[in-house]
């Protein structure tokens, strides 16, 4: 979900197209329009005119820019789709990119176009750079699948070559540096080389774009040449290239840039890309190119999904003012996505666009009418009953994080190397404090004890919650079970006090149990027991070992039990 910054007056002029007069719109109006693009206004700076907008749809990269948002709204306003003549195939490409063999091993695809006649403004430049960053970062998976370069067209001699070189062989001055360096040096020294170099890991030769004069344009997907690849305010002839590993995504990205620049008044000149072998789009690919994603959809399917009769006319109109090309058939529509979109996987994608184009407010809510019976799971019922009983016994309920540290759950409890001390651990640890799941409740309660010596005594605490118990016989290597833990802490806390509570609990749960002495390191020897139900151990009870209390820095005797409710009812 990208968040972008746009300028309000830039947005307003894009809204009206290149010819119409400029009109100021209210913030409330902007917010309402943003519904069309699943956008949310996150901030507005009236002094600079900056608007911060979060775009939700991760399948609509065309909307992650000022031009795309304005386009979607403009189409709806003007009631007609945006025309991009350079996509009709009638413009003959004047320039060419030659792809040399071997690219398919590293970064196979490239798409490019030239744009003339739009003089770059400072706001326009900021948008160009922002779109380049957002598309490469989020849509292009941190430049892995797609990356973008923008250049001064006048400095390039065609044809351009896309090929592989030894990293030590080629050299140029990259953006952000003062001196000439080899591609190998860029990978080691340049911040972008360090950040994105991993994409090329394992490749002995790396991609380079060079023009007919053997002048390097860039080292994709790392960095542009400073000589050619630094666009400035006032430039009016641009060259845009996209490289990547997925041809449809590479072409789509270029289509978005071409449409954006065309919306700002540029004339787009397509470029011919010559591959050494056939791609899914052929050997000679003209870019930008409308991939013409289309689908025939029965009206009935749309109406059924939306729960409303619309008729073919309404559907056709709704889709047209949302940017689709639509031809109506008998009981169905043939829809084609605009060239800057590719997100048509299923009929339901079109259904949503119909609803958005009509406006969600146009659909009257209807209650689902079919009867169903509500209820709680067995374990939740038992857990709720146990909680009621614990409250009746005078215990305060606690709720804790499940993710904690092995030190809390096992180390402090003196059970590190025992069967009780095993936990489900996290592989990609961020901090040790959140590095494993709890396997019992008692440490969660001692955490409260350790922090609450000033709260008046006695303390009687309990928690009923989930734990994860490692179990090699289980498919996932662990079982999630619901466990009830309880502690009593005060100057004279005593085994029999907690035993009485356990006994009462069992009486009202209607279960028979017995205690069997157990040498459990968390408890004082001779004052700890295993809780057995039908000879199956389902918990422990005892006086907490003074060394455990010391490790938690608790200065009050504590007695406790820990009872596995899932095991109790299984």
């Amino acid at each position: 979900m990208p968040t972008i910054t746009i300028f309000k007056d830039d947005f307003e002029s894009l809204l009206k197209g290149t010819r119409a007069t400029h009109r100021t719109v209210s913030i409330a109006q902007v917010e309402e329009w943003l519904m069309l693009v699943k956008g949310e206004l996150k901030g507005h700076n009236p002094d600079t005119g900056e608007l911060r907008i979060e775009l939700q749809d991760s399948n609509r990269p065309d909307l992650w820019c000022c031009e795309g948002i304005a386009r979607q709204i403009r189409i709806k306003q003007q009631g007609k789709i945006a025309q991009y003549p350079f996509l009709t195939g009638k413009t003959k490409p004047k320039a060419k990119i030659v792809v040399k063999p071997g690219m398919e091993q590293v970064r196979p695809y490239v798409a490019a176009c030239a744009a003339r006649g739009y003089q770059v403004t400072s706001q326009g430049l900021a948008q160009l750079i922002q779109t380049q960053e957002k598309l490469a970062e989020i849509f292009g998976h941190k430049r892995k699948t797609v990356s973008i370069g923008i250049y001064q067209l006048s400095k390039i001699t065609f044809p351009v070559t896309y090929e592989l070189v030894q990293p030590g062989e080629a050299r140029f001055t990259p953006l952000g540096m003062e001196t000439v360096m080899t591609l190998a040096e860029m990978l080691m020294v340049h911040p972008k080389g360090v950040e994105y170099g991993g994409i090329l890991a394992g490749a002995s030769r790396v991609p380079i774009l060079r023009d007919a004069a053997n002048q390097p344009l860039s080292f994709p997907p790392i960095i542009n040449s400073r000589e050619v690849g630094e666009v400035q305010v006032g430039d009016d002839q641009l060259f845009v290239e996209v490289t990547g590993t997925d041809l449809p995504m590479v072409v789509l990205t270029l289509n978005i840039f071409a449409a954006n620049l065309a919306d700002r008044g540029a004339t787009i000149e397509p470029i011919l890309v010559e591959y050494p072998t056939r791609t899914s789009l052929g050997k000679r690919v003209i870019t930008p190119q409308d991939l013409k994603k289309s689908k025939t959809i029965p009206i009935h399917t749309i109406e059924q999904a939306l729960g409303q009769e619309l008729g073919i006319k309404v559907v056709q109109h709704a889709l047209e003012v949302y940017g689709y090309e639509v031809s109506a058939g008998k009981g169905s529509v043939l829809v084609k996505l605009p060239p800057y979109r590719q997100d048509l996987m299923h009929t339901m994608d079109v259904v949503e666009d119909v609803a958005m184009s009509c406006g969600y407010g146009e659909f009257t809510p209807v209650m689902p009418a079919q009867f169903t019976v509500g209820g709680l799971s067995r374990i939740e019922q038992v857990s709720d009953r146990a909680r009621e009983l614990m409250v009746g016994l005078g215990f305060q309920e606690i709720i804790s994080n499940i993710l904690g540290s092995p030190e809390q759950y096992s180390g402090h409890m003196r059970i590190d190397e025992t069967e009780w001390g095993q936990t489900v651990k996290v592989d990609n640890v961020m901090t040790l404090n959140f590095s494993c799941l709890r396997q019992w409740i008692l440490p969660s309660l001692l955490r409260i004890e350790a922090a609450s010596s000033r709260a008046f005594y006695p303390h009687r605490l309990f928690e009923a919650g989930d734990v994860a118990i490692p179990d090699a016989t289980h498919e996932a290597g662990s079982r999630t079970e619901t466990v009830l833990g309880a502690v009593i802490a005060h100057a004279a806390a005593h085994f029999s006090e907690i035993h009485s509570c356990l006994d009462t609990l069992f009486y009202y749960l209607g279960k028979e149990y017995r205690l069997e002495p157990v040498p459990h390191p968390s408890f004082l020897e001779g004052r700890a027991g295993r809780v057995l139900v039908a000879d199956k151990p389902i918990g422990v009870i005892g006086e907490v070992h003074p060394e455990v209390l010391e490790r938690w820095q608790i200065a009050m005797p504590v007695v406790a039990f820990d009872l596995n409710l899932s095991q109790l009812i299984s």
């Binding site: 699943k38 991760s58 989020i138 999904a305 729960g307 409303q308 996987m345 299923h346 339901m348 259904v351 949503e352 609803a355 958005m356 969600y360 659909f363 209807v366 209650m367 689902p368 079919q370 009867f371 169903t372 019976v373 509500g374 209820g375 709680l376 799971s377 939740e380 909680r387 409250v391 009746g392 016994l393 005078g394 305060q396 309920e397 606690i398 709720i399 994080n401 499940i402 993710l403 489900v424 651990k425 592989d427 990609n428 961020m430 959140f434 955490r447 409260i448 922090a451 609450s452 709260a455 008046f456 005594y457 989930d466 994860a468 498919e475 996932a476 290597g477 662990s478 079982r479 999630t480």
Partner: protein, 521 residues
């Protein structure tokens, strides 16, 4: 005034004083000290009882006599022990006359314990009385005449020493002398002090008299502080009086058994959902990527599946899934859409990746498992599932948290019934009358809706998100009926109800805070 209720409120000391006063016939006025003796009370006890009785208007002040009383100051006690300056100077002058030595005022001022102001005051008085003469050079000589002051002072010191005396018990001359040598403003170094002693005398008021009458009629009753089994057993409580307490005092705190306020909030949500016909689902904390994401049609290259978003399990890394058929069904949908009518994501699905174990990152994983386990149609399900996200913990981000969410299955499910369900949630869960439906994006639903409501206390807020499950989700799991997937974001409502501003406080370790949070929902 209701005399019997006044009588019930009487402290034993008050009763003693009232009975003492009422015992004397005919009625007389009592001075405080006489009353203390007669009632056998310490002066402090008496003064408490008298103040209370005055406040209840059971006794009245009959007279208030102000008596000047003389006592020795600390300096007076010193003079009594040794000698007053006037005595010392007269003696010194007589001594000098006897030996023929010259005695100057300066000599006197250097004597220990005599300061210049003492000396000049004493010499002035002796000179005025004619007992001394000051001759040239500041020399002092005795005239041989007596000093009435010096002569009177010694017996006076003797008389007042040890206990105070009424000023009027002295002769007018001596009263004048006391007056001259007593502590006054600006003159603190004097042997005598004159205080005003107030002597009050009390009589029973008419209501006091009737109270006494009633008390006497009742007879003397023993007072007890606590009812006991013994008193109940032999019925002797009838002869006892139970002291009344001051019930306006602050009550001592008591430890109580109580549910956790956040859990209580979740319990009310749970009860609401059950009342609307939802069946609870349970799931595991450790899930496979398959159920957590693949089954929800999130492509394996989806950014939210990154190691910076999800916690991966260390050991075992992968689940031992015996039945791979469902994996490959879902995998085909990812690759080319399978039999769902979708084009799919168009990438090579990694079966091994699907088995990777993670900590459940979204409650929708529980819904996915329910879809695959032959759910009821029509059917409604919910879960309140603990989920984990790889997030820096701060005031708005927790690393583990609850997600309230679920599904609704039915042949009548469509976009409008989806909006109807959200309307119901708005009314039932947030008591909101106004709602807004905004387009939204979730990887597993299409169309998707965000539910915004006007909460009676919080104003406009996002209450949840929902949508119709994509066929790419439901079909490979064996469900052909349309399915609503919904989730409610309730933490903000909970935090306002609990009066906290930091999400970490939902799981606080501060027992005092947990005990004192009311949690009104």
């Amino acid at each position: 005034m209701d005399i019997s209720s006044v009588i019930d409120s009487l402290h034993p000391l008050e009763i003693k004083v009232l009975l003492t006063m009422g015992a004397r016939r005919p009625a007389v006025a009592f001075k405080s000290e006489d009353l203390a003796v007669a009632a056998e009370l310490e002066p402090s006890q008496l003064s408490m009882a008298v103040e209370w009785l005055l406040a209840k208007a059971l006794i009245e002040i009959q007279s208030e006599i102000v008596t000047p009383v003389v006592s020795l100051t600390k300096i007076g006690e010193e003079y009594h022990q040794t000698a007053a300056p006037i005595e010392r100077i007269l003696a010194a002058a007589r001594d000098a006359a006897g030996t023929g030595k010259r005695l100057t005022i300066g000599d006197l001022q250097t004597q220990p314990g005599l300061d210049p102001s003492d000396v000049s005051k004493a010499v002035g008085r002796l000179k005025k009385e004619g007992a001394l003469l000051i001759i040239q050079g500041g020399c002092i000589e005795t005239t041989g005449r007596p000093s009435p002051t010096a002569d009177a002072l010694r017996p006076l010191l003797e008389e007042v020493h040890g206990s105070s005396r009424e000023l009027t018990s002295f002769s007018p001359e001596r009263q004048q002398l006391i007056e001259d040598y007593s502590v006054k403003r600006g003159n603190a170094k004097e042997p005598f002090r004159v205080d005003e002693r107030v002597t009050r005398s009390f009589v029973l008021s008419p209501s006091g008299a009737s109270a006494v009458q009633q008390l006497m009629n009742q007879g003397v009753v023993e007072e007890v502080s606590q009812l006991s089994p013994e008193l109940l057993k032999d019925g002797s409580w009838r002869q006892k009086r139970f002291r009344k307490y001051t019930i306006s005092l602050r009550a001592p705190r008591v430890g109580t058994g109580k549910k956790h306020p956040y859990r209580e909030f979740l319990d009310t949500v749970k009860a609401k959902l059950v009342s609307m016909g939802f069946q609870e689902m349970r799931g595991a904390l450790v899930e496979t990527e398959f159920w957590n994401m693949d089954a929800l049609f999130m492509p394996q290259f989806h950014p939210a599946r990154d190691i910076h978003d999800v916690y991966f399990v260390k050991q075992p890394t992968h689940a031992a899934m015996a039945d791979e058929s469902i994996l490959s069904k879902v995998g085909q949908v990812h690759e080319h859409g399978g039999k769902t009518g979708s084009s799919g994501w168009g990438y090579a699905f990694d079966l091994q990746r699907a088995k990777r174990l993670v900590l459940r990152s979204q409650g929708t994983a529980v819904s996915a498992r329910t879809l695959a386990a032959s759910p009821n149609i029509p059917g409604k399900y919910f879960s309140i599932a603990r989920c984990f996200r790889y997030d820096q913990v701060d005031a708005t981000h927790a690393t583990d948290f609850f997600q309230v969410e679920g599904i609704v299955l039915g042949e009548d499910i469509n976009f409008r019934t989806l909006l109807g369900l959200l309307n119901l949630f708005a009314h039932e869960v947030a008591q909101a009358k106004e709602v807004k439906f905004l387009p939204a994006y979730f990887p597993f639903t299409e169309p998707s809706v965000e539910l915004h409501v006007r909460h009676p206390r919080l104003g406009w807020m996002e209450l949840g998100g929902a949508g119709l499950f994509r066929p790419e989700v439901t079909v490979p799991l064996g469900v052909t009926a349309p399915v609503i997937a919904w989730g409610l974001g309730l933490d903000r409502m909970a935090m306002v109800a609990l009066g906290i501003h930091d999400i970490r406080e939902l799981f606080t370790d501060n027992l005092e805070l947990i005990r004192t949070t009311r949690g009104l929902f």
